[in-house]
């Protein structure tokens, strides 16, 4: 009973801080969206006023790079976990938005429309391919990547199948290479058995 009360308090505290963080992040995102809209509007006005197209293009490119560089400098870190996964603090909603932004990336806008126009029905394989592939990642890899606290798929495979535990031993490194070299590991069941944990 004595141990349960502080645990509950700590849990409530953590939840409150998560909510605060969520609100702050929402504020940042709103500000960013607002400023981006204003920037686009300003560019539109400038175009109407007769600013050359090329300058507009350069301005857009330059502003984007400066913005990203600023964000990078402001939130610089030498912590690996902070660098790769933002300390695992980003709420699911924002992570989902980032994933969606990746999904609807420049490739979709620039090349997919043209590919569809050129190839018709067959080009829909691209759409199905990368969304369906995302399903496989979400079901088979992502949860375990998170559970194993790894940053990349090779890291995860090294820890899961390496047998060394920390994934830095020689066997782990060799395992991490096997997705890129299927012919060398497929026909060797003895090697497979040796490198699979016997639990």
């Amino acid at each position: 009973m004595n141990g349960a009360a502080p645990k509950n308090v700590a849990k409530a505290d953590a939840r409150a801080s998560t909510r605060r963080y969520f609100r702050r992040l929402s504020g940042y995102y709103l500000w960013f969206t607002l400023c981006f809209g204003l920037f686009l509007g300003a560019l539109g006005i400038l175009e109407k006023e007769g600013m050359p197209r090329q300058w507009i293009g350069h301005l857009y490119m330059f502003a984007t790079i400066v913005l990203y560089a600023t964000i990078g400098v402001v939130s610089r870190t030498s912590n690996v976990s902070e660098y790769y996964v933002a300390g695992r603090r980003v709420p699911a909603l924002f992570n989902g938005m980032a994933t969606a932004a990746d999904w609807i990336s420049a490739a979709s806008f620039i090349s997919l429309a043209g590919t569809l126009y050129l190839h018709g029905f067959d080009a829909l394989a691209y759409v199905m391919g990368w969304t369906g592939g995302y399903c496989l990642v979400a079901l088979l890899i992502a949860p375990y990547l998170r559970k194993f606290a790894q940053y990349t798929i090779p890291d995860f495979l090294a820890v899961r199948y390496g047998g060394g535990g920390d994934g830095t031993d020689r066997r782990g490194n060799r395992c991490a290479r096997w997705p890129s070299a299927p012919p060398s590991w497929c026909p060797s069941p003895t090697w497979w058995r040796r490198s699979t944990p016997s639990a």
Partner: protein, 104 residues
């Protein structure tokens, strides 16, 4: 489980056995969920394309079914698969944590 209260909770072997049992149960349910969703995934991505000609005479919103599925339906089904997985795993994880708290 009324019988559990009669058992001595401080026995470490028993506790470990219970935790292992909970873990096995959770893992089995998660695996079954993933297997089911993967079957749905295979049906969506392979069967609708492989049997596209047979499905073409059915129409959805004025489009042939196979075309609709490839252009929009499959993506929506994939989205539903991911959403369903996330939702169901949340439920399973919560239940697992709760039962583990009971067991430990």
């Amino acid at each position: 489980m009324p019988t559990d209260t009669a058992l001595p909770d401080h026995d470490p072997d028993l506790r470990r056995a219970r935790i292992v049992a909970e873990r096995t149960r959770h893992w089995r349910r998660a695996r079954r969920l993933v297997a089911g969703l993967l079957v749905l995934w295979l049906a969506t991505s392979f069967c609708t394309v492989f049997f596209a000609r047979d499905l073409a005479h059915l129409s959805v919103f004025g489009w042939p079914l196979s075309f609709y599925l490839a252009a929009q339906g499959a993506s929506l089904i994939y989205l539903a698969i991911i959403g369903g997985y996330a939702w169901r795993m949340r439920v399973l994880d919560r239940e697992y944590t709760r039962r583990l708290g009971d067991a430990a």
